[in-house]
Amino acid sequence: MGLLKWFSSSRPAVHKLPSGSFTVDRHGKVATSTVVTDFPVSLLDDIAKEILSVFREAHAAQMPLAEVSLDFAGLQISARDMQGGAIIFLSPKNPLATASPAGSKS
Protein backbone atom coordinates (compact mmCIF):
# COMPACT_ATOMS: atom_id res chain seq x y z
CA MET A 1 0.00 0.00 0.00
CA GLY A 2 2.84 2.35 0.88
CA LEU A 3 4.34 1.81 -2.55
CA LEU A 4 1.01 2.61 -4.21
CA LYS A 5 0.65 5.79 -2.16
CA TRP A 6 4.12 6.82 -3.24
CA PHE A 7 3.19 6.40 -6.91
CA SER A 8 -0.14 8.19 -6.60
CA SER A 9 1.35 11.20 -4.84
CA SER A 10 3.92 11.69 -7.58
CA ARG A 11 1.28 11.96 -10.29
CA PRO A 12 1.04 15.54 -11.64
CA ALA A 13 -2.21 17.35 -10.87
CA VAL A 14 -4.25 17.55 -14.07
CA HIS A 15 -7.42 19.58 -13.81
CA LYS A 16 -10.31 19.40 -16.15
CA LEU A 17 -11.40 22.74 -17.59
CA PRO A 18 -13.71 24.33 -15.06
CA SER A 19 -17.38 24.86 -15.75
CA GLY A 20 -19.82 27.03 -13.85
CA SER A 21 -19.84 30.52 -12.44
CA PHE A 22 -18.62 32.39 -9.44
CA THR A 23 -18.86 35.87 -8.01
CA VAL A 24 -16.06 37.91 -6.54
CA ASP A 25 -16.03 41.16 -4.61
CA ARG A 26 -13.95 44.18 -5.56
CA HIS A 27 -10.97 42.71 -3.69
CA GLY A 28 -11.06 39.49 -5.68
CA LYS A 29 -12.48 37.39 -2.84
CA VAL A 30 -14.73 34.57 -4.08
CA ALA A 31 -18.22 35.02 -2.61
CA THR A 32 -20.28 32.30 -4.27
CA SER A 33 -19.43 29.56 -6.73
CA THR A 34 -21.03 26.80 -8.74
CA VAL A 35 -17.69 25.54 -10.01
CA VAL A 36 -16.96 21.93 -9.06
CA THR A 37 -15.49 21.85 -5.55
CA ASP A 38 -12.35 19.92 -6.45
CA PHE A 39 -11.27 22.72 -8.76
CA PRO A 40 -8.57 24.60 -6.84
CA VAL A 41 -9.75 27.80 -5.21
CA SER A 42 -6.33 29.28 -5.94
CA LEU A 43 -7.07 29.02 -9.66
CA LEU A 44 -10.42 30.76 -9.19
CA ASP A 45 -8.51 33.49 -7.35
CA ASP A 46 -6.11 33.77 -10.29
CA ILE A 47 -9.00 34.10 -12.75
CA ALA A 48 -10.73 36.68 -10.56
CA LYS A 49 -7.53 38.70 -10.15
CA GLU A 50 -6.91 38.91 -13.91
CA ILE A 51 -10.52 39.67 -14.78
CA LEU A 52 -10.82 42.44 -12.19
CA SER A 53 -7.60 43.96 -13.49
CA VAL A 54 -9.03 43.96 -17.04
CA PHE A 55 -12.08 45.92 -15.82
CA ARG A 56 -9.93 48.28 -13.75
CA GLU A 57 -7.54 49.03 -16.61
CA ALA A 58 -10.45 49.66 -18.95
CA HIS A 59 -11.84 52.13 -16.43
CA ALA A 60 -8.46 53.82 -16.20
CA ALA A 61 -8.43 54.11 -20.01
CA GLN A 62 -11.72 56.07 -19.90
CA MET A 63 -13.77 53.23 -21.34
CA PRO A 64 -15.46 51.38 -18.50
CA LEU A 65 -16.74 48.00 -19.65
CA ALA A 66 -19.92 46.17 -18.74
CA GLU A 67 -18.77 42.76 -19.96
CA VAL A 68 -15.63 41.12 -21.20
CA SER A 69 -15.10 37.69 -22.69
CA LEU A 70 -11.84 35.83 -23.24
CA ASP A 71 -12.17 33.11 -25.84
CA PHE A 72 -9.62 30.32 -25.85
CA ALA A 73 -9.64 27.26 -28.05
CA GLY A 74 -10.96 25.18 -25.15
CA LEU A 75 -12.59 27.62 -22.78
CA GLN A 76 -14.57 30.80 -22.69
CA ILE A 77 -14.23 33.05 -19.67
CA SER A 78 -16.87 35.75 -19.67
CA ALA A 79 -17.36 38.26 -16.91
CA ARG A 80 -19.82 40.98 -16.05
CA ASP A 81 -18.85 43.98 -13.98
CA MET A 82 -20.69 44.15 -10.66
CA GLN A 83 -19.86 47.54 -9.19
CA GLY A 84 -16.18 46.78 -8.84
CA GLY A 85 -16.66 43.06 -8.30
CA ALA A 86 -17.66 40.60 -11.00
CA ILE A 87 -19.67 37.54 -11.87
CA ILE A 88 -17.52 35.21 -13.92
CA PHE A 89 -18.75 32.41 -16.16
CA LEU A 90 -16.51 29.53 -17.18
CA SER A 91 -17.69 27.59 -20.22
CA PRO A 92 -15.53 24.81 -21.64
CA LYS A 93 -15.89 24.46 -25.39
CA ASN A 94 -15.13 20.74 -25.51
CA PRO A 95 -17.85 18.98 -23.51
CA LEU A 96 -15.64 15.91 -23.06
CA ALA A 97 -13.17 18.00 -21.08
CA THR A 98 -15.62 19.52 -18.61
CA ALA A 99 -15.83 19.11 -14.91
CA SER A 100 -19.43 19.19 -13.75
CA PRO A 101 -20.60 22.19 -11.75
CA ALA A 102 -20.90 21.53 -8.06
CA GLY A 103 -24.18 19.97 -7.07
CA SER A 104 -25.00 18.54 -10.47
CA LYS A 105 -24.86 14.86 -11.38
CA SER A 106 -22.89 13.75 -14.38
Binding site: V68, D71, G74
Partner: protein
Protein backbone atom coordinates in the same frame (compact mmCIF):
# COMPACT_ATOMS: atom_id res chain seq x y z
CA UNK B 1 -44.38 59.27 -60.00
CA UNK B 2 -42.38 62.23 -58.77
CA UNK B 3 -40.12 61.38 -55.85
CA UNK B 4 -38.84 63.91 -53.40
CA UNK B 5 -35.12 64.56 -53.17
CA UNK B 6 -33.38 63.63 -49.95
CA UNK B 7 -30.99 65.69 -47.87
CA UNK B 8 -28.75 64.10 -45.26
CA UNK B 9 -27.46 66.29 -42.42
CA UNK B 10 -24.50 65.10 -40.36
CA UNK B 11 -23.68 66.79 -37.07
CA UNK B 12 -22.73 65.47 -33.63
CA UNK B 13 -24.99 68.03 -31.93
CA UNK B 14 -28.46 66.52 -31.58
CA UNK B 15 -30.12 69.88 -30.87
CA UNK B 16 -28.55 71.42 -33.94
CA UNK B 17 -29.70 68.49 -36.06
CA UNK B 18 -33.28 69.09 -34.98
CA UNK B 19 -32.94 72.82 -35.67
CA UNK B 20 -31.53 72.05 -39.10
CA UNK B 21 -34.29 69.59 -39.88
CA UNK B 22 -36.97 72.17 -39.01
CA UNK B 23 -35.15 74.86 -40.95
CA UNK B 24 -34.65 72.79 -44.10
CA UNK B 25 -38.30 71.77 -44.00
CA UNK B 26 -38.98 75.29 -45.31
CA UNK B 27 -37.36 74.47 -48.67
CA UNK B 28 -39.87 74.99 -51.49
CA UNK B 29 -39.26 71.56 -53.04
CA UNK B 30 -40.05 69.93 -49.66
CA UNK B 31 -37.20 67.39 -49.71
CA UNK B 32 -36.99 64.56 -47.22
CA UNK B 33 -34.58 65.52 -44.45
CA UNK B 34 -32.60 62.76 -42.77
CA UNK B 35 -30.10 63.22 -39.96
CA UNK B 36 -27.04 61.35 -38.69
CA UNK B 37 -24.91 62.02 -35.65
CA UNK B 38 -21.76 60.11 -36.66
CA UNK B 39 -19.74 59.82 -39.83
CA UNK B 40 -20.11 56.07 -39.88
CA UNK B 41 -23.87 56.32 -39.58
CA UNK B 42 -23.98 58.91 -42.37
CA UNK B 43 -21.89 56.73 -44.69
CA UNK B 44 -24.08 53.72 -44.10
CA UNK B 45 -27.19 55.83 -44.83
CA UNK B 46 -25.61 57.14 -48.04
CA UNK B 47 -24.84 53.57 -49.00
CA UNK B 48 -28.37 52.44 -48.33
CA UNK B 49 -30.32 55.04 -50.29
CA UNK B 50 -29.75 57.84 -52.80
CA UNK B 51 -29.40 61.37 -51.45
CA UNK B 52 -29.14 64.56 -53.48
CA UNK B 53 -27.45 66.82 -50.91
CA UNK B 54 -25.19 66.02 -47.99
CA UNK B 55 -24.70 68.70 -45.32
CA UNK B 56 -21.77 67.98 -43.05
CA UNK B 57 -20.32 69.50 -39.89
CA UNK B 58 -16.53 69.53 -39.56
CA UNK B 59 -15.75 69.33 -35.87
CA UNK B 60 -16.88 65.89 -34.76
CA UNK B 61 -15.36 63.16 -32.57
CA UNK B 62 -13.96 59.91 -33.99
CA UNK B 63 -14.28 60.65 -37.70
CA UNK B 64 -14.20 64.38 -38.41
CA UNK B 65 -16.06 66.08 -41.23
CA UNK B 66 -13.07 66.31 -43.58
CA UNK B 67 -12.47 62.57 -43.24
CA UNK B 68 -16.13 61.88 -43.96
CA UNK B 69 -16.09 64.22 -46.96
CA UNK B 70 -12.96 62.53 -48.34
CA UNK B 71 -14.80 59.24 -48.36
CA UNK B 72 -18.03 60.74 -49.65
CA UNK B 73 -16.31 62.48 -52.56
CA UNK B 74 -14.76 59.19 -53.64
CA UNK B 75 -17.73 56.94 -53.12
CA UNK B 76 -20.52 59.29 -54.14
CA UNK B 77 -19.04 61.67 -56.70
CA UNK B 78 -22.44 62.91 -57.81
CA UNK B 79 -23.64 63.85 -54.35
CA UNK B 80 -23.83 67.60 -53.68
CA UNK B 81 -21.85 68.35 -50.56
CA UNK B 82 -22.21 71.29 -48.20
CA UNK B 83 -20.08 72.10 -45.19
CA UNK B 84 -21.97 73.75 -42.36
CA UNK B 85 -19.66 74.45 -39.48
CA UNK B 86 -18.93 76.75 -36.60
CA UNK B 87 -15.19 76.69 -37.33
CA UNK B 88 -14.30 80.18 -38.51
CA UNK B 89 -10.92 79.34 -39.93
CA UNK B 90 -10.04 79.88 -43.58
CA UNK B 91 -7.80 76.84 -43.47
CA UNK B 92 -10.83 74.60 -43.07
CA UNK B 93 -12.66 76.47 -45.80
CA UNK B 94 -9.84 75.91 -48.27
CA UNK B 95 -9.39 72.28 -47.25
CA UNK B 96 -13.10 71.67 -47.73
CA UNK B 97 -13.10 73.30 -51.15
CA UNK B 98 -9.99 71.30 -52.05
CA UNK B 99 -12.05 68.19 -51.39
CA UNK B 100 -14.58 69.47 -53.91
CA UNK B 101 -17.47 70.50 -51.68
CA UNK B 102 -20.12 72.61 -53.40
CA UNK B 103 -20.74 75.07 -50.57
CA UNK B 104 -19.08 76.14 -47.34
CA UNK B 105 -21.29 77.91 -44.81
CA UNK B 106 -20.65 79.05 -41.28
CA UNK B 107 -23.46 78.28 -38.87
CA UNK B 108 -23.82 81.92 -37.72
CA UNK B 109 -23.99 83.06 -41.37
CA UNK B 110 -26.63 80.48 -42.09
CA UNK B 111 -28.77 81.84 -39.27
CA UNK B 112 -28.23 85.46 -40.30
CA UNK B 113 -28.77 84.87 -44.03
CA UNK B 114 -31.26 82.10 -43.76
CA UNK B 115 -33.09 82.84 -47.01
CA UNK B 116 -29.84 82.89 -48.99
CA UNK B 117 -28.83 79.59 -47.46
CA UNK B 118 -32.17 78.05 -48.38
CA UNK B 119 -31.84 79.39 -51.93
CA UNK B 120 -28.40 77.81 -52.25
CA UNK B 121 -29.61 74.43 -51.04
CA UNK B 122 -32.65 74.62 -53.31
CA UNK B 123 -30.34 75.39 -56.21
CA UNK B 124 -28.23 72.32 -55.42
CA UNK B 125 -31.34 70.18 -55.20
CA UNK B 126 -32.62 71.30 -58.58
CA UNK B 127 -29.47 71.63 -60.61
CA UNK B 128 -29.68 68.41 -62.58
CA UNK B 129 -33.34 68.89 -63.34
CA UNK B 130 -32.54 71.92 -65.47
CA UNK B 131 -30.69 69.72 -67.96
CA UNK B 132 -26.97 69.36 -67.37
CA UNK B 133 -24.42 71.75 -66.03
CA UNK B 134 -24.70 75.40 -66.76
CA UNK B 135 -22.09 76.82 -64.46
CA UNK B 136 -18.65 76.20 -63.13
CA UNK B 137 -19.16 76.19 -59.40
CA UNK B 138 -16.59 74.05 -57.61
CA UNK B 139 -16.67 71.34 -60.24
CA UNK B 140 -13.76 69.97 -62.16
CA UNK B 141 -13.93 68.81 -65.71
CA UNK B 142 -14.10 65.15 -64.77
CA UNK B 143 -17.20 65.81 -62.66
CA UNK B 144 -18.89 67.62 -65.53
CA UNK B 145 -18.11 64.91 -68.08
CA UNK B 146 -19.28 62.18 -65.72
CA UNK B 147 -22.49 64.03 -65.01
CA UNK B 148 -23.22 64.59 -68.68
CA UNK B 149 -22.73 60.87 -69.16
CA UNK B 150 -24.76 59.73 -66.16
CA UNK B 151 -27.66 62.03 -66.95
CA UNK B 152 -27.60 60.68 -70.55
CA UNK B 153 -27.62 64.17 -71.93
CA UNK B 154 -27.32 65.06 -75.56
CA UNK B 155 -25.38 68.28 -75.76
CA UNK B 156 -22.22 69.96 -76.88
CA UNK B 157 -19.93 70.95 -74.05
CA UNK B 158 -17.87 74.00 -74.88
CA UNK B 159 -14.82 74.40 -72.66
CA UNK B 160 -12.80 77.59 -72.54
CA UNK B 161 -9.42 77.85 -70.86
CA UNK B 162 -7.82 81.22 -71.45
CA UNK B 163 -7.36 81.52 -75.22
CA UNK B 164 -8.08 77.84 -75.76
CA UNK B 165 -11.50 76.60 -76.76
CA UNK B 166 -12.55 72.97 -77.00
CA UNK B 167 -15.74 71.08 -77.62
CA UNK B 168 -17.09 67.70 -76.61
CA UNK B 169 -20.10 66.19 -78.30
CA UNK B 170 -22.42 64.05 -76.19
CA UNK B 171 -25.21 61.93 -77.59
CA UNK B 172 -27.51 60.25 -75.04
CA UNK B 173 -24.71 60.39 -72.49
CA UNK B 174 -22.07 58.90 -74.79
CA UNK B 175 -19.07 60.96 -75.76
CA UNK B 176 -19.01 60.81 -79.56
CA UNK B 177 -16.31 63.34 -80.42
CA UNK B 178 -13.98 66.00 -79.04
CA UNK B 179 -11.99 68.80 -80.61
CA UNK B 180 -9.17 70.83 -79.08
CA UNK B 181 -5.90 72.43 -80.08
CA UNK B 182 -6.20 71.19 -83.67
CA UNK B 183 -6.75 67.59 -82.60
CA UNK B 184 -9.95 65.63 -82.56
CA UNK B 185 -11.33 62.38 -81.13
CA UNK B 186 -9.46 60.67 -78.30
CA UNK B 187 -6.34 62.79 -78.72
CA UNK B 188 -8.37 65.96 -78.23
CA UNK B 189 -10.08 64.47 -75.18
CA UNK B 190 -6.72 63.74 -73.55
CA UNK B 191 -5.49 67.26 -74.28
CA UNK B 192 -8.59 68.81 -72.73
CA UNK B 193 -8.16 66.78 -69.56
CA UNK B 194 -4.71 68.27 -69.09
CA UNK B 195 -6.15 71.75 -68.81
CA UNK B 196 -5.84 73.04 -65.29
CA UNK B 197 -8.80 75.38 -65.32
CA UNK B 198 -11.58 76.63 -67.49
CA UNK B 199 -15.24 77.35 -67.80
CA UNK B 200 -17.96 75.17 -69.23
CA UNK B 201 -20.95 75.96 -71.31
CA UNK B 202 -23.58 73.56 -72.52
CA UNK B 203 -24.74 74.15 -76.10
CA UNK B 204 -27.63 72.56 -77.97
CA UNK B 205 -27.07 68.99 -79.12
CA UNK B 206 -25.80 68.21 -82.62
CA UNK B 207 -27.22 64.75 -83.23
CA UNK B 208 -25.80 64.57 -86.76
CA UNK B 209 -22.21 65.10 -85.63
CA UNK B 210 -19.90 62.32 -86.88
CA UNK B 211 -18.81 59.87 -84.21
CA UNK B 212 -15.05 59.39 -83.82
CA UNK B 213 -14.89 58.07 -80.25
CA UNK B 214 -16.21 54.57 -79.69
CA UNK B 215 -14.98 53.90 -76.15
CA UNK B 216 -17.21 54.49 -73.16
CA UNK B 217 -16.80 57.69 -71.15
CA UNK B 218 -15.69 55.72 -68.10
CA UNK B 219 -12.98 53.90 -70.06
CA UNK B 220 -11.78 57.15 -71.61
CA UNK B 221 -11.68 58.91 -68.25
CA UNK B 222 -9.83 56.04 -66.63
CA UNK B 223 -7.21 55.78 -69.37
CA UNK B 224 -6.70 59.49 -69.63
CA UNK B 225 -6.52 60.20 -65.93
CA UNK B 226 -3.99 57.40 -65.40
CA UNK B 227 -1.78 58.68 -68.21
CA UNK B 228 -2.04 62.28 -67.09
CA UNK B 229 -1.43 61.56 -63.42
CA UNK B 230 1.68 59.54 -64.17
CA UNK B 231 3.08 62.02 -66.68
CA UNK B 232 2.14 65.37 -65.21
CA UNK B 233 1.69 64.81 -61.53
CA UNK B 234 3.59 61.78 -60.24
CA UNK B 235 2.02 60.59 -57.02
CA UNK B 236 4.19 61.10 -54.00
CA UNK B 237 4.57 58.52 -51.28
CA UNK B 238 2.67 60.83 -48.96
CA UNK B 239 -0.27 61.06 -51.36
CA UNK B 240 -0.28 57.30 -51.80
CA UNK B 241 -0.33 56.87 -48.03
CA UNK B 242 -3.19 59.37 -47.80
CA UNK B 243 -5.12 57.54 -50.52
CA UNK B 244 -4.56 54.24 -48.74
CA UNK B 245 -5.68 55.77 -45.45
CA UNK B 246 -8.88 57.11 -47.00
CA UNK B 247 -9.50 53.74 -48.66
CA UNK B 248 -9.06 51.94 -45.35
CA UNK B 249 -11.42 54.34 -43.59
CA UNK B 250 -13.96 53.70 -46.31
CA UNK B 251 -13.56 49.96 -45.82
CA UNK B 252 -14.24 50.28 -42.08
CA UNK B 253 -17.31 52.36 -42.79
CA UNK B 254 -18.62 49.94 -45.40
CA UNK B 255 -18.34 47.03 -42.98
CA UNK B 256 -20.22 49.06 -40.38
CA UNK B 257 -17.39 49.30 -37.87
CA UNK B 258 -16.57 52.50 -36.00
CA UNK B 259 -12.82 52.21 -35.83
CA UNK B 260 -9.86 49.91 -36.12
CA UNK B 261 -6.60 50.04 -34.18
CA UNK B 262 -3.52 47.98 -34.89
CA UNK B 263 -1.57 47.47 -31.65
CA UNK B 264 1.95 46.10 -32.14
CA UNK B 265 3.10 43.57 -29.55
CA UNK B 266 6.16 45.72 -28.81
CA UNK B 267 5.43 48.78 -26.73
CA UNK B 268 8.13 50.76 -28.54
CA UNK B 269 6.16 50.65 -31.80
CA UNK B 270 3.32 53.13 -31.98
CA UNK B 271 -0.18 51.81 -32.53
CA UNK B 272 -1.97 52.87 -35.72
CA UNK B 273 -5.59 53.93 -35.62
CA UNK B 274 -8.30 54.58 -38.17
CA UNK B 275 -11.46 56.31 -37.01
CA UNK B 276 -10.54 56.96 -33.38
CA UNK B 277 -8.27 59.33 -31.51
CA UNK B 278 -8.13 57.39 -28.25
CA UNK B 279 -5.26 55.32 -29.58
CA UNK B 280 -2.68 55.27 -26.81
CA UNK B 281 -5.10 54.44 -24.01
CA UNK B 282 -6.74 51.78 -26.11
CA UNK B 283 -3.37 50.29 -27.02
CA UNK B 284 -2.26 50.20 -23.37
CA UNK B 285 -5.46 48.44 -22.33
CA UNK B 286 -5.20 46.02 -25.24
CA UNK B 287 -1.69 44.98 -24.25
CA UNK B 288 -2.81 44.55 -20.65
CA UNK B 289 -5.85 42.44 -21.40
CA UNK B 290 -3.93 40.29 -23.86
CA UNK B 291 -1.21 39.53 -21.33
CA UNK B 292 -3.80 38.76 -18.67
CA UNK B 293 -5.55 36.41 -21.08
CA UNK B 294 -2.33 34.68 -22.02
CA UNK B 295 -1.44 34.13 -18.35
CA UNK B 296 -4.87 32.65 -17.74
CA UNK B 297 -4.66 30.47 -20.83
CA UNK B 298 -1.36 29.03 -19.68
CA UNK B 299 -2.48 28.56 -16.08
CA UNK B 300 -5.67 26.77 -17.08
CA UNK B 301 -4.25 25.00 -20.15
CA UNK B 302 -7.22 26.41 -22.04
CA UNK B 303 -5.53 26.43 -25.44
CA UNK B 304 -4.57 29.35 -27.63
CA UNK B 305 -6.40 32.64 -27.29
CA UNK B 306 -8.69 33.14 -30.30
CA UNK B 307 -10.21 36.53 -29.49
CA UNK B 308 -11.37 38.85 -26.76
CA UNK B 309 -14.65 40.70 -26.82
CA UNK B 310 -15.98 43.41 -24.57
CA UNK B 311 -18.77 45.91 -24.56
CA UNK B 312 -20.31 48.84 -22.79
CA UNK B 313 -23.25 51.08 -23.60
CA UNK B 314 -21.35 52.93 -26.30
CA UNK B 315 -19.75 50.15 -28.32
CA UNK B 316 -18.59 46.59 -28.78
CA UNK B 317 -14.88 45.86 -28.91
CA UNK B 318 -13.35 42.87 -30.63
CA UNK B 319 -9.67 42.07 -30.12
CA UNK B 320 -8.01 39.73 -32.60
CA UNK B 321 -4.50 38.65 -31.57
CA UNK B 322 -2.03 38.06 -34.41
CA UNK B 323 1.57 36.94 -34.20
CA UNK B 324 3.11 40.41 -33.97
CA UNK B 325 0.14 42.65 -33.27
CA UNK B 326 -3.45 42.76 -32.10
CA UNK B 327 -6.27 44.33 -34.03
CA UNK B 328 -8.94 46.12 -32.04
CA UNK B 329 -12.18 46.71 -33.92
CA UNK B 330 -14.83 49.01 -32.49
CA UNK B 331 -18.45 48.32 -33.44
CA UNK B 332 -21.56 50.36 -32.72
CA UNK B 333 -23.78 49.21 -29.84
CA UNK B 334 -26.52 48.04 -32.20
CA UNK B 335 -24.17 45.57 -33.96
CA UNK B 336 -25.06 41.89 -33.61
CA UNK B 337 -22.57 40.45 -31.07
CA UNK B 338 -22.82 36.95 -32.52
CA UNK B 339 -21.46 38.12 -35.88
CA UNK B 340 -18.70 40.42 -34.73
CA UNK B 341 -15.92 37.82 -34.54
CA UNK B 342 -16.42 36.77 -38.17
CA UNK B 343 -16.98 40.35 -39.34
CA UNK B 344 -13.83 41.54 -37.57
CA UNK B 345 -11.82 38.66 -39.01
CA UNK B 346 -13.07 39.55 -42.49
CA UNK B 347 -12.18 43.20 -42.04
CA UNK B 348 -8.69 42.58 -40.72
CA UNK B 349 -8.02 39.92 -43.34
CA UNK B 350 -8.66 42.36 -46.17
CA UNK B 351 -6.58 44.86 -44.21
CA UNK B 352 -3.54 42.61 -44.23
CA UNK B 353 -3.85 41.64 -47.88
Amino acid sequence: METKHKILVLDDDADWLETCRDFLAQLPSEPEIRIASTGVRALSMLDAQPFRVFICDLNMPRMDGLQVLSIVRRRFPNLRTVVLTGLQDDQFRSRAYALGVDLFWLKPDMQQNSQMFLDCIESLLGREDSGGFRDTQAKNLLDVIQMESISENSSVLRITSGQLVAKMWFHHGELVDAAAEGADGEAAFRRILKWKSGTFESLPAEPEHVRTITKSVDAMLLESSQIIEKAVNPTSAEELAQQKFVGQLAEIAVEGAEFLVSVPAKKEITAKAWGTKNTEQLAAWTRHVEKAAQRLGETLSAGPLTHISAHNLERHLLLLPQSDKTYVVGWPPEAMPGHLFEQSKKLTKSWDS
